[in-house]
Amino acid sequence: MTTVSSRPIERGAPRVQSIGPVAWSRKHLFNSWFNSILTIVLGLTLGAALFNLLSWAFIQANWSVVADNFGNFMSGLYPPESYWRIWSVLGIIMGLSGLTWGLLARNQPQLFSRNVLIGLGAIALFFILWPLTRPHTPYLIGVLVLLAVAAAAGQAIGRKAPGSTKWILAAWLVSYFVDLYLLGGGPFFGRGTLSPSLFYSIIVMLGGGIVAGWQLSQRISIPQIPTWISKIVLFLVGFIVVYQVLWRLPYALGLDVGLKNVSTNSWGGLTLTLLLAISGIALCFPAGVLLALGRRSKLPIVQAFSVAYIELIRGVPLISILFMGQVLIPLFLPEGVRPDRVVRAIIGLTIFSAAYLAENVRAGLQAVPLGQSEAAQSLGLNKPLTTALIVLPQALKTAIPAIVGQFISLFQDTTLLGIVGLVELLGISQNLLASPTYLGDYKEGYVFIAAIYWVFCYAMSYGSRRIESALNTDLR
């Protein structure tokens, strides 16, 4: 193939030349006397700042506040003899992450790209070399190994049974409740207490009761009364009997087992921050999508509600919503029903973020050309299918950067919960730094938690860019 070039002299020369660092800097940094001065001044300033920072970090700084309280930073007042439960939660999360990664990469030739491998290696090296994590190094390395092994297993499973991909979401959902139970503990076969035994009460007791009632009403019928009445009666009988048996049986058998109860008052540190952020993100996403769809709905009531909600919440600062969550929610509920303060905090974060997320999703919805839904409708798809299969996927794809930005804000906003008495990462730092032992160690404490926040936020925005490019179907 011949190329006709308008500038024949350049023909054959590669467009991008690889040039040495000296030539590169001459071209970009020292190409005029003004730029040269600018480069030198900025270079000296940055160099001095970096030098000061490093000499502070390695010579002057007194990291004992972090070293002595590493457990506090990570998990607040959580009883150290139960730390294994937090490790288990971390293990579950990393194992599932690995599985998910492997399943998603099932068609990829290699499981981890070189960059990811280098990143994992760097993290492992960091854990080994960094003195602060030393007592926990074996566990941390173990968790990383678990991630890698689970990823390999996930890829193998995904290749054998591609259908297993759809179970991973259910696994994450179930794992959330398992994690909550691991953190909170309490008698497993609980009598109506909320969080710890939620799993058993809802899934096993209700589920067993409903299945039993249904089976009974299908199998037999009571003669001489109308079938529908007999069905209802039999269902209720079956339900009540089985529910009661499942409720009392564990006690009758002396099965009063369960993890030691750890009240949410002792939850704290990074663990609490992550719990708040993950719960808030998982709840505000569907809520925000529904509100965005509601705002575009043709039903006046739905639309009015969505608009009112979004505009009301966006006009109120988060901190006031969090205070209201702590003070007002109990007022609206009957005596005795008092949602846990962690639950109230999650509700507050969700209420707030959902409104902003709805606006991000709405912008995405508006960016989908009208022709898309017209084409879908002309094929006979009804409105819900058109929204679910055609419009929403494209809208969410364009809205990914904004949505992840909102998630990052939510993550950072968990710091405000220190003000309403939850000792998350920032709250812990403030408590520690207020004690006379660490007088004057502010810098060390805050630099440490800032680094933690940065790592998580950067990971989220990196992930969002990866997802974006993976979903880009144009001109690949």
Partner: protein, 261 residues
């Protein structure tokens, strides 16, 4: 794709006895801003017939054919598709849309789905066919429009002509009774017009009932059973292609033809 032979145009009279797929009577439509876009348009389309609608830009051609699958509501008159009246309060509007395929000027393929998924989406979700059956039929259709080997590409990776052929296959997958084409070649680079027209020509040869808004005179002369000129929201002239292009009855038709020929 095999080049189709020159077809002997059939006079519209051949179809009067056939059953009418579309019966539009005195259709009137106003846009929300009060613009009177359709001023009493009547037209029948019979089974197996190919009708070409021509007319200056802004004359209401798109609006008119979009009333056939209820993408545009109309206020007065009546439209029946295969015996079902399209009314604004029609409960099962999707049932009508299933029977009417539509191909748009801008293709409107779903960019987040592969070519194959574009074609199987509606059969799977609307006709409730099993995936295997839908994919088998989709591959046959893609083969028919000459893109079978690109089934796993995304629309954004294809040329305009290829995208428009996928769009035709996507509509055909629902096995519609009638196909509507709204200027299917207007957004294409000239070298791609022919591949799309070839597909449409073969479709007509296979007996598909078609309503095409197009300014492709060659296509109209060769394939159309009837040519209709629309101007200012009314049908100005309805004629056989040879009469319409050689000695049009109406002055407005002559003026229009002098502009495009």
């Amino acid at each position: 794709m095999p080049q189709s032979e020159m077809q002997v145009p059939i006079s519209s009279n051949n179809f009067v006895d056939a059953e009418a797929v579309i019966v539009a009577k005195d259709v009137q439509k106003w846009y929300d801003n009060g613009f009177h876009v359709l001023k009493g348009v009547s037209m029948n389309v019979y089974k197996g017939e190919v009708v070409v609608i021509m007319g200056p830009s802004g004359s209401g051609k798109s609006t008119f054919i979009r009333t056939f699958n209820a993408l545009e509501p109309y206020q007065e008159g009546s439209i029946e598709i295969d015996g079902v009246r399209i009314a604004n309060d029609l409960k099962d509007i999707e049932a009508v849309r299933r029977e009417v395929g539509m191909v748009f000027q801008q293709f409107n393929l779903f960019p987040h789905l592969t070519v194959l998924q574009n074609v199987t989406l509606a059969p799977i979700w609307v006709r409730r066919w099993p995936k295997a059956k839908a994919e088998e039929i989709a591959m046959r259709l893609l083969d028919r429009v000459g893109i079978a080997e690109q089934a796993y590409k995304f629309p954004g990776q294809m040329s305009g002509g290829q995208q428009q052929r996928v769009a035709i296959a996507r509509s055909l997958a629902m096995q519609p009774k009638v196909m509507l084409f709204d200027e299917p070649t207007s957004a294409l680079d000239p070298e791609m017009v022919r591949e799309v027209l070839d597909v449409m020509r073969n479709l007509a040869k296979d007996g598909m009932t078609m309503v095409c808004v197009t300014h492709e005179v060659g296509f109209a002369k060769e394939v159309a059973d009837r040519v209709v000129l629309m101007d200012g929201g009314v049908l100005v002239e309805e004629n056989t292609p040879e009469e319409f292009f050689n000695n049009p009855r109406e002055e407005r038709s002559q003026a229009f033809l002098s502009q495009i020929l």
